[in-house]
Symmetry: C2
Subunit: 447 residues, 2 copies
């Protein structure tokens, strides 16, 4: 028998078959699958308590939809699907084959593009505002690296049609409740607003496109204010950089609160713009709203340096961090203009995405197990002696006692067989003696 | 706003975006998704009680694996994925581009090919025998037709490594238990054996390849014994056809039982072969075993005319039918040679596949609903008056009473708003008056 990573024999003498999954993708073993299923169930049930409903879209989307959206870097990573039948034949017959003619569908690279298409397509059948849960696979042909996969699960909630900050507050309360229900604690929500970020940079005297400045601020965690200062000074006038870095420093020192941040922005004597004062009010209401149900189990703090992916956010943005982990466990924000860009209709929107793979990674590291799993019991029988009907009756009896029961033919080396059961999380076993009324349940690994 | 099926505006002047999902694929609305999630959970939990564990494989497989297996007609229906990066560039630069050079991966068309690859690849980490559950999407580029989709869910259990008929019995008991737990009753398992089928045809004097004869027998339901007779007479000698049709008729008249069928095969005086007598013993044990735990809630009957897809079955085959439905709700059988063909190692195997899409279709027709869903409650607030923190506290209170709660800003036409909630399965509502301690829960549609 060949081992993992080697190749399979095939009955026809074609290309050899490959035992390993495609590059960058995973086979999931029973232990991890059980944990993922449990986590999915907990998240889903929590979100349902908050009035969200799960929806599903196909894994494949029209290629022009995927490429016409706001996917940024992800557009380069799309798995494209070859046209089929006559359509493909026609392309292959033409003298100059161009890449773009070969494919018409692509595997989705996120759940947001499909959500917007879904919403536009099914709006007559949906409650408005629409509160959607999506849990599903996405595919990106990224350079493989540790902990990153080319097929992975995303887990999103989105609210389409609510302008009020109740939307952000519900997203954050629901996501926090899901994390608590999964057994996490000691986490912190950081929140900022795209409009504040823009105002802060403009206030300091920067002009032109702000994206490169945001990218520099985003590195604050890693390179400190000094690092940011150095990076910005290469391209921007010194006084703007000094003003910005002073603001960054003071908000770090004072453990940033909204009021002092607003005061700092006002120092120059000018009044806050309407937009800015709306943003500050929104943030205060979200922080207040989340705290009102957090019962001290988690924190929410204002972080004027939070940036996030810059593509489509228009208002509040947020991330959830956990003590001891440098990466965030999820994030999201308001993206009010996206539905309009796709369909011409003005529909406010915001969403939150739990970092499903990260959360599972942490739980696997901690040896977490599904909390509602039944105890596994092996019913070991003698295939030469025991009648199938008797084995089934015995198994049925044990199932009715609440066990997850599996009937296994007895092997010659029973010690080895019991060890294997123990290794695969079995708790109990019964060595069947042919007598359905007399089943002796033994604990594995206890002798 | 454009409607479903029309096209989306795009900010860039590229190809117009498409609102509908790709051809033959579906967007799932909340009601159907909730039912599917519930059914999945019930099936999964039932199978876990029978000692099966869920595993997962990637949606994409190496194309040569998909094409090198035993997919039959499905091989023509594979969605192939374009090569990426340099690999693709190299192909496109060559003067004669061949179709086979363009793609290296494909979307799986069933869960059996991935299972066999998975088993061979991960055997060191799996308990042996291995009892696997797979629930997941498969993709086939079929000609679209009513009720058939190009992406659909399959739901399989398989046992790898058990020769004894306890494997078939557990598959059937587990699948039947799942159907009962979903609320189905009045179903019937029909069982036959590939070896019996072969022996029956040989016994009647047929020679050569039996597949076309099996295909004719498979139509018995639709065209009757006369139809089968007519079809066979076109190609085979009359006496063989007469003998076979006599057997078919007598097994229909006698409500086929194993003993009389065996007697009929023995009439010519010869003894049954060892293989045939093994097959009969196996079938008897499976029928007996299933009946021992069925408690009269469902039937299992011998059906010498059951054929099923002929590709890879080597022993017992079975289907579950339901009164009032002409198609089966699931089926499976033993395929002892498949792992060996892939890997050279002799591993007995059998599996059962629930017709997930059919079952959901029937449940949707019957208006079935998830049995464990919380009552949905709309908390209607006034965005101009109510504080976010108060709304959140009120919602929290109602959630703690067991409701699924969603906060919605009050619309001008509240009657219309309440109608919309009712239409989307909300049971209750609270018109929030700003007072968290005084929440009046009203039933929707009751006034």
């Amino acid at each position: 028998m060949t081992g993992s990573g080697t190749q399979m024999k095939t009955n026809e003498s074609k290309e050899p078959l490959s035992l390993a999954p495609p590059r960058g993708m995973r086979d999931l073993l029973p232990k991890e699958t059980a944990l993922r299923d449990w986590a999915t169930r907990v998240i889903l049930e929590t979100y349902e308590q908050f009035g969200f409903s799960r929806i599903e879209t196909p894994a494949l989307e029209h290629l022009q939809n995927l490429k016409g959206g706001e996917g940024g870097e992800n557009l380069k990573l799309i798995y494209e699907v070859l046209k089929r039948g006559e359509k493909l034949e026609k392309v292959l017959e033409s003298p100059n084959i161009e890449r773009d003619q070969l494919a018409d569908l692509g595997l989705r690279f996120d759940l947001t593009v499909p959500l917007v298409r879904y919403f536009c397509s099914n709006q007559n059948d949906l409650l408005f505002p629409t509160k959607a849960i999506q849990i599903g696979s996405v595919w990106r042909a990224e350079a493989p690296q540790k902990g990153r996969f080319r097929q992975f699960t995303q887990c999103d909630i989105d609210i389409l049609g609510v302008k009020s900050e109740i939307a952000e507050t519900e997203l954050l309360a629901a996501s926090s409740a899901a994390l608590l229900n999964l057994g996490f604690s000691d986490f912190q929500i950081r929140i900022n607003d795209r409009r504040l970020l823009t105002a802060m940079v403009a206030h300091c005297g920067f002009t032109g496109r702000f994206d490169p400045i945001f990218i520099a601020i985003d590195k604050l965690d890693k390179i400190g204010v000094e690092g940011v200062e150095k990076e910005l000074l290469e391209k921007w006038p010194g006084e703007s950089v000094t003003a910005l870095c002073q603001l960054l420093r003071s908000s770090q020192e004072q453990n940033a609160d909204l009021t002092s941040f607003a005061t700092a922005l006002q120092k120059s004597g000018e009044n806050l713009s309407q937009e800015l004062s709306d943003a500050l009010k929104s943030l205060a209401a979200i922080i207040d709203g989340v705290q009102s149900t957090a019962e001290g189990k988690y924190d929410i703090v204002f972080d004027p340096t939070l940036v996030r992916g810059m593509g489509y956010y228009t208002g509040p943005i947020f991330e959830i961090g956990m003590k001891g982990y440098s990466y965030s466990m999820g994030g999201g924000g308001r993206y009010d203009k996206m539905v309009e860009k796709f369909s011409g209709r003005d529909v406010p929107a915001c969403g939150f995405s739990i970092g499903f793979e990260r959360i599972i990674g942490v739980m696997m590291d901690q040896g977490a197990k599904p909390k509602d799993a039944k105890e596994k019991l092996a019913l070991i029988f003698d295939p030469n002696r025991d009648k199938t009907a008797d084995i089934m009756k015995a198994a049925d009896k044990l199932r009715k006692q609440g066990f997850s029961v599996s009937a296994h033919p007895r092997k010659k080396d029973m010690t080895k067989q019991l060890d294997a059961f123990l290794q695969h999380d079995f708790a109990k076993f019964v060595a069947f003696k042919g007598d359905v009324d007399n089943l002796e349940i033994k604990t594995l690994g206890s002798k």
